[in-house]
């Protein structure tokens, strides 16, 4: 709505009360903290018309008033400085004194709620030794708050998360991924459903950074500290650089533990297939980070499969919950929107990461399947009814009645039994071999974009 105000049109928005802080945070970032909005008690999704009418009826005077009177300015004050602010915090050995840095950060909403390592200038300086990039280099403008992601700010958050300098290039590469328009990081940040970035690491950097790619790698434990710290550091950046604070920039309806951070490397030593970054055009001895926005995961328990098709059928069963994104590609590609102009960037999505235990990959490889064969199998066998796809929303159609996207499939519209692949392309089944070698896989539902970036060799 700020875009139409910018064009000179007075505007009023209607939003659910639980989104009021999110709305305010959003318009703060957009530079119009006084943008008019009126709240109603509940989200309108799934509500009957009578119920929505009643909610609107109660606010109609305020809605009309918003078009005729400029609302008072509110919202957060901006700060812009040439040097990074530093603060002095008193610590002592009392329980309160030990927690004083955490309380200081919490009072400013600069944390994920878990105690952090104090980001002292010395610790930040040490972190910066993990990269050749200059401290004031800006990797991206992070939304929704339009924060400048400088190398130094990222380093401060990395210290807080418990990262070590040798892990810092992985975090920087993850932020390079978010900077790519096809990542659609804005929607990842501000969406109301439970999604989070997962960081997938390939190449020699995994060992150098101490990232576990075996048993328990995404869980708690000392052997997983690099995974935990890198994933957490990205979340802290999303909060403190992107201003995606819980309940404000981040209006997620309930959240998920995955939002604290997810980072894992591929078990390239045991996998029978080529590493994932090679699928994305990198060489085996290069290092790369892929970030995907996902919700889930769901664990696929696969102890009774006797062959590769049983396993693939089991994985494919995850695709059959309604509204899993199946068939959406028929309406054309999704668009990310970037920056203050809302410029659109079409991208292919979703990508569903499937964290495959090496044992499951071996079952397929022993049957003679390459990774691409397995992806092709899933693409061909995970199908949705065309009738159901057409029933969910109107098709974009040209004046002559032809579908704007995939007109070659329009002749199937009258066939009640016609099906189409749930996803547009085989590679959207992102098979990533990792973890201990046993009869499990984790299926993540991809929601928005994907991007891969090289990791700096320091």
């Amino acid at each position: 709505m700020v875009a139409v105000e910018k064009a000179g049109v007075p505007a009023v928005a209607i939003a659910a009360r639980s989104f009021a802080r999110a709305w305010q945070s959003c318009v703060d970032g957009w530079g119009q903290p006084g943008a008019a909005f009126v709240t109603i008690p509940h989200a309108t999704t799934g509500q009957q018309a009578d119920f929505i009418h009643k909610m609107v009826d109660e606010q109609i005077d305020d809605i009309i008033h918003g078009l005729t009177a400029i609302p008072p300015a509110s919202g957060a004050a901006r700060r812009k400085s040439k040097t990074t602010e530093t603060f002095t915090v008193e610590m002592d050995e009392t329980p309160e004194g030990l927690d004083s840095v955490n309380r200081f950060l919490a009072e400013r909403d600069w944390s994920d709620g878990i105690p952090v390592i104090p980001p002292t200038p010395t610790a930040v300086e040490q972190m910066l030794k993990g990269t050749k990039r200059a401290p004031q280099d800006v990797l991206m403008v992070m939304e929704p708050g339009f924060g400048l992601a400088t190398v130094e700010k990222i380093a401060i958050n990395a210290v807080m998360a418990g990262c070590r300098p040798e892990q810092f290039p992985v975090l920087l590469a993850a932020i390079d991924c978010l900077a790519q328009p096809e990542m659609n990081h804005r929607d990842m940040q501000v969406s109301g459903h439970t999604e989070a970035p997962i960081i997938l690491v390939n190449g020699p950097i995994a060992k150098k950074a101490g990232i576990n790619f075996g048993t328990t790698a995404m869980g708690p434990g000392v052997i997983n500290s690099a995974n935990t710290a890198i994933g957490r550091a990205l979340r802290l950046c999303l909060i403190n650089i992107g201003y995606c604070n819980a309940g404000a920039g981040d209006p997620n309806f309930v959240g998920l533990p995955t939002k604290f951070g997810m980072c894992i490397a591929e078990n390239e030593e045991v996998s029978p297939w080529q590493p994932y970054h090679m699928d994305r055009g990198f060489k085996r001895d290069e290092s790369a980070v892929t970030v995907v926005t996902v919700t889930g995961p769901t664990t696929i328990i696969d102890p009774r499969s006797k062959n590769h098709e049983d396993t693939l059928n089991n994985i494919g069963s995850m695709m059959f919950y309604p509204h899993a994104g199946g068939g959406g590609w028929l309406r054309g590609r999704q668009s990310a929107q970037v920056g203050h102009t809302n410029k659109r960037a079409p991208y292919q999505g979703p990508y569903h990461p499937i964290l495959l235990s090496p044992s499951r990959a071996v079952i397929m490889a022993e049957a003679g399947m390459s990774k691409q064969d397995a992806q092709e199998w899933l693409h061909q066998n995970c199908r949705v009814s065309l009738k159901s796809v057409l029933g969910t929303a109107e098709m974009p159609t040209a004046a002559d009645g032809k579908w704007l996207h995939h007109p070659e499939l329009q002749h199937l519209a009258e066939d009640p039994d016609a099906t189409i692949p749930a996803l547009e392309s085989p590679e959207q089944y992102l098979l990533f071999v990792t973890g201990g070698s046993t009869h499990y896989a984790n299926f993540f539902y991809g929601t928005y974009g994907i991007a891969t970036s090289p990791v700096e060799d320091v």
Partner: protein, 102 residues
Amino acid sequence: MKLQIMSPAADRVDFKVPPAPRLAGLEGKTIGLYNNMTGGADIAVDRVAEHINKRFPGVKFERYGGDLRQGRPSLSRGNHIDDEEAARIATEVDAMIGATAH
């Protein structure tokens, strides 16, 4: 012990968008109704239109969001109005009321 710590909060790009001039009244105006195609948002803005129609006869409405006609702003679920669309909308309406499902 005194500990010096660095702020983890980023500087922000300092956009400033002043509020658009408000209307003196709604009589004879054209009001845009924008929904972002999330569930029920269309019902909410349509209800607003019903109220305005009763209070201000002669007000016209232009709907945005979910409009798939050729040449119309193809605002769709989750998409925000971009600058180009906003400029076009400004030629078509005097004010805008928008709703999302959330």
